[in-house]
Every structure is written in structure tokens, then in C-alpha cells.
Symmetry: C2
Subunit: 248 residues, 2 copies
């Protein structure tokens, strides 16, 4: 379907950068450029295509936006691995569902600290601005490639010694096992965004790379917020899937 709707009318000549895009996309589809393979350098593509470097880069940006390739800052362009499927209705934690799909998940804690609640945080936690909250910054990778960075906020009242725990696994498991918390409701919000500044740096991507922002809020039976999580994903690493039974 994507192919049918978006590749119709391939006939016309169109811009040069789209011709180069089609050429590279073809090599990826045919396997001449395998998953994870590095593309020729921009200057080599320039020679091969006779275009200016800016035009070559436009073709590469197009493929990046489509999720076919990605870049490692100042290292090169590479063919993207297939995305993992994320189902917010069957939330099992990153480590679990990535492993289930035959991939190797890893988590790295970038920092843990106590921060003062911003106005927005205070609204979510129902506390006063400036109230201390635990903030956990993590980077997660699939098959060694960083795919997201996240910041999780937790109310210290719920997990007083959280920052002393091992936090490279499932945070939900820690909250459940160690603090007896029971999550009964998840609220998940998603939107395309651009990865910039800190986030881009942490993921090793160029600022402005397209991404997906996933905001998760977990609540217990008393509707207390348990986790407030912002995940910045590389947009080509994730596919969201929701399965819903219509209520009668």
C-alpha cells in the first residue's frame, strides 16, 4: 500500500535528488546495501551522480525521513535495522518486549538526581512547584544502537530510596517488587518531534533528526501517579501498534 500510494507516477524525471533517492532505495530493497551497511560517503556519491553535495544530502535526508537510513554523527550513513513493535496496551517494559522480538536490549543510566518540580511537573504530580522529585535519565539501545533516551520522574514519597537501587533494568519491576506499588492504569501520548540538543547528543544523532516523543504516566489504584516518563525515540526504531476490542 505504501508503495502503491506513494510510488505511483514514478515515470516523470522529477528532481535529481529524488532520482538519487530512488537509486539508493532500490539498492537497499535489493540487498545490495544490507541492513547496518554503511553507504558510500557523500563525496563519493557526488562523483557517482554528478550532483552537488547539497543535492546528494537532500537525497540522504529524504531516505532518513522515510526511516530507511540513519546517520552516526560525523561517521557516516547506515542502513536502518527493522523497527521494534511497541504496544502500549501490552506494556511489559522495554527489556521484555525487545527481547521477545529477538533483539538485544540494553539500558544505561546517564544520571539520577533529585530535581525541583517545574510548573508542568507539579500539575501532573498534584504537588507544589519546587517539590523535590527523583529524576532518572537513561539511554536504551537495541543490538548496540542507541534508540531512545528518557527521563523518568518519580515521587520520593512512593520510593524513598529509589536512587540507591540498580536502575539499569525495569524500573516498574523495582517499584513493584521493592515498594509494593501496583500500576493499574497507563496513559500514553505520542507525537513526532525533532531530536535536538541534549537528546540529540545523547543519541549520537545530528540535531534536528526526526524522532518520536512518547510520554507515559502510570497510576495506581488510588490514581496516584507512579511514573512520569518522557521517551525520545529515533523515529525509525519504533512502530506503534494498538489492538482494541470495541466495547459493547
Amino acid at each position: 500500500m505504501t508503495e502503491r500510494m506513494q510510488n505511483a507516477a514514478d515515470a516523470g524525471p522529477g528532481p535529481h535528488y529524488l532520482a538519487l533517492r530512488d537509486h539508493l532505495a532500490g539498492e537497499i530493497a535489493q540487498g545490495a546495501l544490507a541492513v547496518g551497511a554503511r553507504l558510500p560517503s557523500e563525496r563519493q556519491l557526488q562523483l557517482g551522480s554528478g550532483a552537488a553535495r547539497g543535492t546528494v544530502r537532500e537525497a540522504l535526508f529524504q531516505l532518513e525521513a522515510e526511516g530507511l537510513i540513519y546517520r552516526r554523527d560525523r561517521s557516516g550513513w547506515y542502513v536502518s535495522p527493522p523497527p521494534v513493535v511497541y504496544d502500549p496496551t501490552r506494556w511489559a517494559g522495554f527489556m521484555a518486549y525487545v527481547a521477545e522480538q529477538g533483539r538485544v536490549p540494553t539500558t544505561e543510566t546517564l544520571g539520577k538526581q533529585s530535581v525541583a518540580a517545574s510548573a508542568a511537573d507539579a500539575a501532573v504530580f498534584g504537588c507544589a512547584i519546587g517539590t523535590p522529585l527523583f529524576a532518572l535519565d537513561r539511554r536504551r539501545a537495541i543490538d548496540g544502537r542507541p534508540v531512545l533516551v528518557e527521563r523518568i520522574l518519580v515521587d520520593p514519597v512512593i520510593a524513598p530510596d529509589l536512587l540507591d537501587e540498580g536502575l539499569d533494568g525495569s524500573l516498574t519491576a523495582v517499584l513493584t517488587g521493592r515498594y509494593g506499588v501496583r500500576v493499574v492504569r497507563n496513559h500514553v501520548e505520542m507525537r513526532p518531534c525533532a531530536l535536538i540538543k541534549d537528546v540529540a547528543r545523547a543519541l549520537g544523532v545530528a540535531s534536528g533528526t526526526p524522532g518520536l516523543l512518547v510520554v507515559r504516566r502510570s497510576f495506581d489504584a488510588g490514581d496516584r501517579i507512579i511514573e512520569y516518563d518522557h521517551e525520545y525515540w529515533r523515529h525509525d526504531a519504533i512502530r506503534v501498534l494498538v489492538e482494541v476490542r470495541t466495547r459493547d
Copy 2:
């Protein structure tokens, strides 16, 4: 949070295009550039900033990727209206949930025809390749601004005279009211994509504009597929929200 994580370390000078981005983002935040307002032309921004036009365009692309502005092909750059919230678990149809949010939805039928099932379609419908299917192409707008184009496939066996119906409203309503179909399960898949070719043209955007692809499949109680829908959204027009009660 977005602000906290992404705007930290604003101190450094950084690239010129990010400085211009910050300037324009500030004007939008402060309301100096109102929602729907048109930005100065690229050449005017060039004069104001002393940068080359390519640099100005980089700043604009950045803001576009963040969803703050959008372009009308060869007309200009405009401040994006706020997104509508889409909740696949409370699926009520585009016309309904857009109106609920105080916006004005419209639908336009671009074409309706019988097409032969592709290999992918055949797999979804459980039919042979080449089997005739009804295809409905529509464009939908919010407050007059086109936000998505879609192609819906329906099995003629389920709705034999579908193409003779009025199809500018809710298709699900037609299938339910006229053909007695009952949808009990929805399968929704989402991923960032690039809007290219036909889709870009139909939305009046430049090829390569970032978008969101939503694929919906509806099933009845007998697990027969009722609707198979591909929606290509402008990425700044939609925000996905899922609310899930954890099963016990």
C-alpha cells in the same frame, strides 16, 4: 519537560540556523507570530539575519520538524495550529472526534474505484491476488487545512453497492447502518514517515515533508476484515493518546 530536556544548555553560540530557529520559536511562543500567521519570506528573513538563504531554510526545516510551522507549497511558511488528539481506543470516527475538540472537520472524496488486490492486500483480506476490492481515496481537513489523505479498502462482498453511497461522512456509519456490519476489533499501527509524491501533492505539501502513517484494520465478530485503511497525516496535526487499564 520537553523544554527542560531539549532546551537545556542554550548558552553556547551553536550554529546560526539554530539561533534563528530560537528567535522564530520565541516569536511564536510570545504570540508575535499568531497561529495561522504567515512568516516573513525566506528572502526577508535572509536580510534580517544576514545569513545565506540555505541557512535560513535550515532553521525553517528545523521548526517544521518540531511541528511549530508548516508550509504551503510555493506560497509560504505558516504557524501551525494545535494538533487534534487521536485516541485509537475510543475510535469514534474523524468527523466526530475532531468536532468534539471544537474544530471543523471536512471530508472530500478524491476517487472511488474497484482495484485488484496486491499481494499485501490479499494477505490482509485472505483472498487471492487480483481479487477486486473497493478503494476509496479521501482527503480530510481541519478548519480548512488538509491534514490527511487516506485510502480505504473494503471487500465488495461485505458492501456490494458501497461506491454508490455518499462517502463524505463516516464510512463506518455507512457500513453499520446500511450493511449491518458490526466492528468488534480495531488494529491500529502508526509510524513516522515522509510524505512523498501523490500524497504530498494531495496535501499540498513539499515532497519529503515529515508525516505519520496510521494503518487501521477493523474486524467483525467473525474476524472478517471490514475496513483496511491507510491514513497519511501531516505530522504536526495529530497527537496520539492511548489510555490503558492494566489487566489483573
